[in-house]
């Protein structure tokens, strides 16, 4: 089943074409990466997928339905976390999760908050204010929020940016474990090449607002005649 289908997405901001005819899909249980240099159009693409930005042309279908026409239905089944988005600093961890459990219309919000608190090992932090947590702990809370509704599609924009390697590794482990357990699809952007190699079964390289290469990490390295994804990235970024 196709969880996400983006068709010919184009977005211009004045004279700048940020995204130029991008099409891709994400299947059930698939983890897809969007890679590219800064300003390539990755975040704009993600924001069009999430309905934050309206494409000039093109369509987004989620779980077979047009996002523009079935926004509430589709967004109930999706969730999002990004390194540049925060959560209310004055609220406690359990209060934040309670608020979002209600916001996603969960049938048993309190039960689900307890489940994700245990899953993300947030028990000891639940009565602490979000603003008092370390970066790694804040990322765990953001992921707990993003897993509350058991999303069929999890959209992550640079989820482990600003984290030390140890915490980053734990977060990746958790995401992979959860993806395998639930068959969840994920769409990820990252500048961390080992992370993308480890997590993504399919990678789209974006440059100048267009997808310029697609494949697994091994396929891409082979196609460009280099050893790893980082070398592919440098080739693409430097033209």
């Amino acid at each position: 089943m196709t969880v996400l289908e983006a068709v010919s997405l184009t977005k211009r901001f004045g004279p700048v074409t940020a995204v130029d005819g991008v099409s891709f899909s994400v299947g059930e249980g698939e983890i897809v990466g969007l890679l590219g240099p800064n300003g390539a159009g990755k975040t704009t693409t993600l924001h069009m997928v999430l309905g934050l930005t309206t494409p000039d042309t093109g369509t987004v279908r989620m779980f077979g339905r047009d996002l523009a026409k079935h926004r509430t239905w589709a967004l109930s089944r999706v969730n999002f976390a990004a390194s540049y988005v925060s959560l209310p600093w004055v609220l406690r961890v359990d209060e934040i999760l309670d608020v979002f459990a209600h916001m996603y219309g969960l049938r048993h919000p309190h039960r689900r908050v307890v489940e994700v608190t245990e899953m993300l090992e947030l028990g000891e932090l639940r009565d602490q204010r979000y603003g008092q947590l370390s970066s790694g702990q804040q990322t765990r809370v953001q992921l707990a929020k993003a897993l509350l509704n058991e999303p069929g599609l999890l959209v992550l924009d640079e989820p482990t940016a600003n984290l030390d390697p140890d915490v980053g590794d734990r977060i990746r482990e958790l995401l992979l474990r959860e993806a395998h357990r639930t068959g969840r699809a994920m769409l990820i952007t990252s500048h961390n090449m080992p992370e993308v190699e480890r997590m993504c079964s399919r990678i789209h390289f974006v440059s100048g607002g267009q997808i310029v290469a697609t494949g697994s990490a091994v396929e891409l390295a082979g196609a460009y005649g280099v050893d790893d994804l980082e070398a592919v990235f440098l080739r693409v970024a430097r033209g």
């Binding site: 977005k11 901001f13 940020a18 975040t43 704009t44 924001h47 999430l50 309905g51 934050l52 930005t53 309206t54 926004r71 509430t72 239905w73 967004l75 109930s76 089944r77 999706v78 969730n79 999002f80 990004a82 540049y84 988005v85 925060s86 959560l87 209310p88 600093w89 004055v90 609220l91 406690r92 209060e95 309670d98 608020v99 979002f100 459990a101 209600h102 916001m103 996603y104 219309g105 969960l106 049938r107 919000p109 689900r112 204010r129 929020k145 509704n149 058991e150 069929g152 959209v155």
Partner: protein, 271 residues
């Protein structure tokens, strides 16, 4: 998935409840905000109460009740606008707005949550002020009579409309427009004729005041406190104007959101 998620009206109610819960959790964790709910209105009440006592002692023909009634009712309008706008700005300042806009919460559900939360907070503010007005100056809000609740309702709805306009301005023009949240209600204050009768306004200003719902309320309040009855026709005009204000505010908000999504401005609230 359906076992996990509610749908239909039950889901809608739960989503609206999320905004109210967020507002009250934030209030509980933010003592300065709690103090703010009562401090400024109380300071204003004390100031105007003393001014009116001084004027009365100096034989200036003015009723203490008229000034205190005006201060109290003005707070309904002022706080209703403020609570709605600052509920939204809380999400902007805490960089949480993108989380809200990628959730299934619709724009109207979000606004409904902010409005409902404001009812409780305005009620608390007015409750505290009423007790103080009675204790210090012997002025009971109930002297306004049967018009009191309709007066408050008209002012509350006008405050909501201004609050929604301020939110729409921030979405349309960006965070620098948040200054509008602080001044918008004061743009209307001279035309609302809070502390003086409409007759003192010059002709053109009086014409504008006729289009401000609050002016009919304050004029009505003065009439009641001067011994006249409630002008139900004036209240009906105010209620109709409220409807126009609310419709205009919602239309502006929806336009601003569409514009922000089209120009990619909504994304910038995350950075």
């Amino acid at each position: 998935m359906s076992a996990l998620l509610l749908d239909g009206p039950a889901a809608r109610r739960r989503r609206i409840a999320s905004v109210i819960r967020r507002d009250f959790f934030a209030l509980r964790r933010d003592p300065p905000r709690m103090v703010d709910m009562a401090f400024w209105p109380t300071a204003e009440l004390v100031l105007w109460g003393l001014v009116s006592l001084y004027l009365q002692q100096n034989k200036v023909h003015i009723a203490v009740a008229m000034l205190l009634g005006a201060v109290l009712l003005w707070q309904v309008l002022h706080r209703a606008q403020g609570e709605v706008t600052f509920g939204f700005l809380f999400d902007v300042w805490s960089r949480n707005l993108l989380n809200v806009f990628v959730s299934p919460l619709s724009t109207l559900e979000y606004i409904a949550g902010l409005l409902l939360a404001s009812v409780v907070k305005v009620a608390v503010t007015i409750g505290v002020m009423s007790v103080l007005a009675f204790t210090f100056y012997g002025f009971g809000l109930l002297t306004i009579g049967p018009g009191l609740l309709p007066f408050m309702a008209v002012l509350m709805v006008m405050g909501w409309a201004l609050g929604v306009v301020a939110i729409a301005c921030v979405i349309r023009f960006g965070q620098s427009a948040q200054v509008i949240a602080f001044i918008l209600v004061f743009v209307f204050q001279p035309f609302a004729a809070v502390f003086y009768p409409l007759s003192v306004l010059p002709g053109p200003a009086r014409a504008i005041a006729a289009l401000v719902p609050a002016s009919h309320v304050f004029e009505g309040m003065r009439s009641v406190l001067a011994g006249g009855g409630v002008s139900w026709s004036g209240l009906a005009v105010a209620a109709l104007l409220d409807l126009v204000y609310v419709a205009g505010a919602l239309a502006f908000l929806l336009y601003s959101l569409r514009y922000a999504r089209l120009k990619g401005k909504l994304s910038r609230f995350g950075s």
